[in-house]
């Protein structure tokens, strides 16, 4: 804990040189900013959220939380919302369910839970608030199930409490789908248990029979054991094993062949032959092989299913984060209501940092809107009374009120979502490697068996059917069935631990072959935030400007104040802002003006030299900010989105792997071409609307090149869905998450490169597995055709081949680690 605090401080010391003397925040352990340190207090806090959370936790006697939790923490993400919408009838109808005894239950998705201490704290809800009966947290899904009694507790108060201890709650959507999936999980587990028990017992019977075959066994016991093993195997094949038969019948009905067809064929042949042998009292039986086969295949399927389910769940839950609440203004004041309940003409209030709940027109206030979610343009747009705003875009400036013009289905974002569905529908399905092989496999199996039958009918008619059946069983593609899913499951699991959530294993196969990779600018190549990227002129003006710009909430001002590290003690007076122009004020007795060149030059005499620098910055796609000190132009700053430090290297690595990187962005063409020049990417398009992006992807796909699209906004969503693989990067919007095959939890292109390398390695493992299992199948087929196989050999070969595949899958490195 202490060691961690020290390293945290070391990391912080770049930003605040004297931070080493300051104690870490009592709640989260992060260093406390100099301005907030209180020398006379035992507890220090880095932010208001942490202070609230600490106060509640300690006042309820839950200090043990601080002993239990991991040292590294994020500051408490307290939002301070009222959560009044959680008591709205519309909300209750959607997410709250009644329980017997006047109790109510709701599943809430919590942001910020990650360790044992979180489990401990969240499950102390009944102690923290009377009326809460139970709180159970599912750590992996980050869903807490709260049960409470009304009117002792109401959901909005519970939500406020969760929020104040640092876990902002969101209603967990799709409760019905989750219940269905849980039922399916349980059925799979039950099938697995039955198959396992049957396989074990069938093996015990088989051991007795093999032992009896080598020594002497009285015929009545032999018959008894054969009937016994038949009984357990019948249970195994008719209950858990029925999934293979059902799936094979389904495939044949659809006139398709997948791996379940040869499996079902082998199971059926083995079963019929063994049952006949048992009834006749003569001939070989394969009951142990059959039940072990069913068990092994079910195990493979179970782990694959779990892994994919997990990745899907994780992505789906991110959807819950998007705000569902609107603040409606009426004569009675402001109330929160679900955005689904908004109507045209409603007046909504949108606070700074919140997103607009519907399309509308600004009725009061002026501010800036971050529309990157729709347009990809990272520069905030100024909005004033009368401006159009769109649902999903973020109000980055100050409080505004908007009159709703389109809500729900009719918003621009909803229309984009419909485009996403169309994009996904138009995509060709990939034929899985193993499924493609299985068609040939069935034919091969049948031809070989027929050949064996014919040959042995000629050589030794009594043994003919026996050998043919043995061949069918030993060539059952058990290892082949495990080969792909196991390798991919292990890969998906490792990828998830690296923060790469892969929703479908098809994506791994597609990503392993190079093609065209379309990059979105914001978030992938650049940091996605305004920064002071260039500076010309007098260095000494920096702290003065930073101190002045601290007085403004304009995104450019925020960037300057952050990057230039102002001296906070400076006295700032007579601040005056002009929207769309700049800011002026007196800092330390000096008159400072900062703003657009036109704004500054209209107030002080222009400087030829600095005006040139400003033009140069503008050409580079930066926004120039002119700075004048005491009536003289002294410096010019260029603000813009800056490249990620590793972007150049990563683009080079992509090229080395055979990929063709291109840029497809909604940003201003000048900005995009400046970025493309720096990276040496020839094909870069800016100013792309969502429709243009979709068209570009479709054209490439039609030309037959593999298209991978990387993006984060709703404006990318349709293109993400239409691309062969859509990769949504960190912080992406709901629509892009829904449309993408892969979600990368950390920003930056380096993760995309990791993903591609991992996928290449994973496909290597899949191919190795396929070769290994085919090798077993071929050698077993040869043995069976020549009559050298018996039930013991079959019982040995099958598990050995599956184990080989298992070992290969787990030992090989796919994601993570260095090559």
């Amino acid at each position: 804990m202490i060691a961690d605090a020290v390293t945290n401080q070391a990391a912080w010391s770049d930003a605040a040189p004297n931070a080493a003397a300051i104690a870490p925040c009592s709640h989260c352990g992060q260093p406390v900013p100099p301005g907030l340190a209180r020398e006379d207090q035992a507890n220090q806090f880095c932010c208001h959220g942490c202070e609230t959370a600490f106060g509640i936790i300690t006042s309820c006697g839950l200090d043990r939380y601080y002993a239990l939790r991991d040292a590294a923490q994020e500051p408490a993400a307290t939002t301070g919302r009222t959560y009044a919408d959680f008591d709205d009838p519309v909300f209750r109808g959607l997410y709250v369910r009644p329980m017997p005894g006047g109790l109510w239950m709701c599943d809430l998705f919590l942001r910020g839970v990650h360790c044992s201490a979180c489990v401990w704290l969240v499950e102390r809800l009944p102690t923290l608030m009377p009326g809460v009966v139970e709180a159970r947290l599912d750590l992996r899904r980050a869903i807490v199930r709260v049960v409470w009694k009304e009117p002792d507790a109401v959901l909005s108060r519970i939500a406020r409490l969760l929020d104040s201890i640092g876990y902002p709650p969101h209603p967990a959507r799709d409760a019905k789908a989750r219940t269905l999936r849980r039922e399916e999980d349980r059925k799979m587990l039950m099938r697995l248990a039955v198959a396992g028990a049957c396989a074990g017992n069938a093996m015990l019977f088989a051991f007795a029979l093999y032992a009896g075959a080598f020594s002497v066994m009285e015929p009545q016991y032999r018959t008894f054991f054969r009937w016994g093993s038949m009984a357990v195997t019948l249970v195994c094949l008719l209950w858990p094993g029925s999934v293979f038969f059902r799936s094979a019948i389904g495939a044949l009905r659809a006139r398709a062949v997948h791996l379940d067809v040869p499996i079902a064929l082998a199971l059926l042949a083995g079963l019929v032959w063994s049952v006949l042998s048992t009834i006749r009292g003569a001939g070989e039986i394969y009951f142990d092989s059959l039940s072990v086969l069913v068990f092994a295949l079910l195990v493979g399927r179970f782990i694959q299913h779990r892994q994919q389910r997990w990745a899907g769940d994780a992505v789906e839950l991110l959807f819950s984060i998007t705000p569902t609440v609107a603040r409606v203004v009426s004569e009675k004041g402001v109330r929160e209501c679900p955005s689904e309940a908004l109507r045209d003409g409603d007046l909504v209030e949108v606070r700074a940092g919140d997103s607009f709940p519907a399309d509308g027109q600004i009725a009061w206030g002026d501010s800036y809107a971050d529309e990157s979610v729709l347009t990809g343009e990272s520069r905030p747009v100024a909005i004033a009374v009368g401006s159009q705003v769109h649902a999903g875009t973020v109000n980055t400036g100050s409080l505004v009120q908007a009159r709703v013009t389109a809500a729900g289905e009719h918003t621009r974002i909803a229309k984009l979502m419909r485009m996403v569905e169309q994009g996904a529908a138009g995509r060709a399905r990939i034929v899985r490697l193993a499924d493609r092989a299985s068609g040939w496999f069935v034919i091969g199996m049948l031809v070989l068996s027929a050949g064996t039958l014919a040959a042995w009918l000629y050589l030794d008619p009594n043994e003919a059917v026996n050998h043919a059946v043995a061949l069918l069983i030993v060539t059952c593609p058990c290892a082949l069935g495990l080969a792909t899913p196991l390798a991919l499951t292990v890969a998906l699991g490792r990828a998830a631990r690296e923060g790469l959530l892969i929703k479908s294993s098809d994506a791994v196969q597609r990503l392993s072959k190079p093609g065209v990779i379309l990059l979105d600018k914001t978030g992938t190549l650049t940091v996605g935030k305004m920064h002071v990227a260039a500076w010309a002129g007098d260095e000494s003006a920096k702290p003065l400007v930073a101190a002045l710009e601290q007085q403004s909430t304009h995104p450019i001002a925020v960037a300057i104040a952050r990057d230039l590290k102002g001296i906070f003690e400076n006295s700032v007076r007579e601040v005056e802002q002009t929207t769309g122009g700049g800011i002026r004020g007196i800092v330390d007795g000096q008159q400072i003006i900062a703003g657009s060149p036109a704004f500054v030059e209209s107030r002080v005499p222009a400087s030829e030299h600095l005006a040139q620098s400003a033009n140069e910055f503008a050409r580079q796609g930066l926004t120039p900010i002119m700075i004048a000190v005491d009536g003289v132009c002294s410096a010019v700053a260029g603000l813009g989105d800056v490249l990620r430090p590793d972007a150049g290297e990563m683009v080079a690595r992509l090229r080395a792997k055979g990929w063709t990187p291109r840029i497809l962005s909604g940003d201003h063409p000048d900005v995009v071409s400046a970025i493309a020049r720096q990276l040496g990417i020839a094909d870069a398009k800016g100013g792309q609307r969502p429709e243009d992006k979709l068209e570009a992807v479709r054209q490439l796909a039609a030309a037959g090149t593999g298209v991978v699209m990387v993006g984060d906004g709703v404006n990318d969503a349709a293109a993400l869905a239409a691309a062969d693989v859509g990769i949504a990067v960190h912080g992406g919007a709901e629509a892009s998450l829904a449309a993408a095959d892969v979600h990368i939890a950390k920003p930056g292109l380096s993760r995309v490169v990791d993903l591609i390398i991992g996928c290449e390695r994973s496909m290597g493992i899949v191919k190795r597995n396929l070769v290994a299992s085919l090798f077993y199948n071929v050698s077993a087929a040869v043995m069976a055709a020549t009559g050298y196989i018996n039930p013991i050999a079959a019982a040995v070969i099958m598990p050995v081949s599956s184990l080989t595949v298992l070992a290969l899958s787990f030992k090989s490195r796919s994601f993570g680690g260095r090559p």
């Binding site: 239990l68 401990w120 357990v232």
Partner: protein, 45 residues
């Protein structure tokens, strides 16, 4: 060795009971969340 006729079915029956118990546990939701209980165990109150 005629005892086998009693012992073997008995053994199968026992295995059946074990499977039954497992299925009961699955239906009761004991395997729905296999991660959180591990964290709960270290809290001693």
């Amino acid at each position: 060795m005629t005892v086998l006729y009693i012992v073997v079915p008995l053994a199968v029956l026992l295995a059946g009971c074990a499977v039954g118990a497992f299925i009961w546990a699955v239906k009761g939701g004991q395997f729905d969340d296999v991660d959180t209980p591990a964290h709960r165990a270290i809290q001693d109150d």
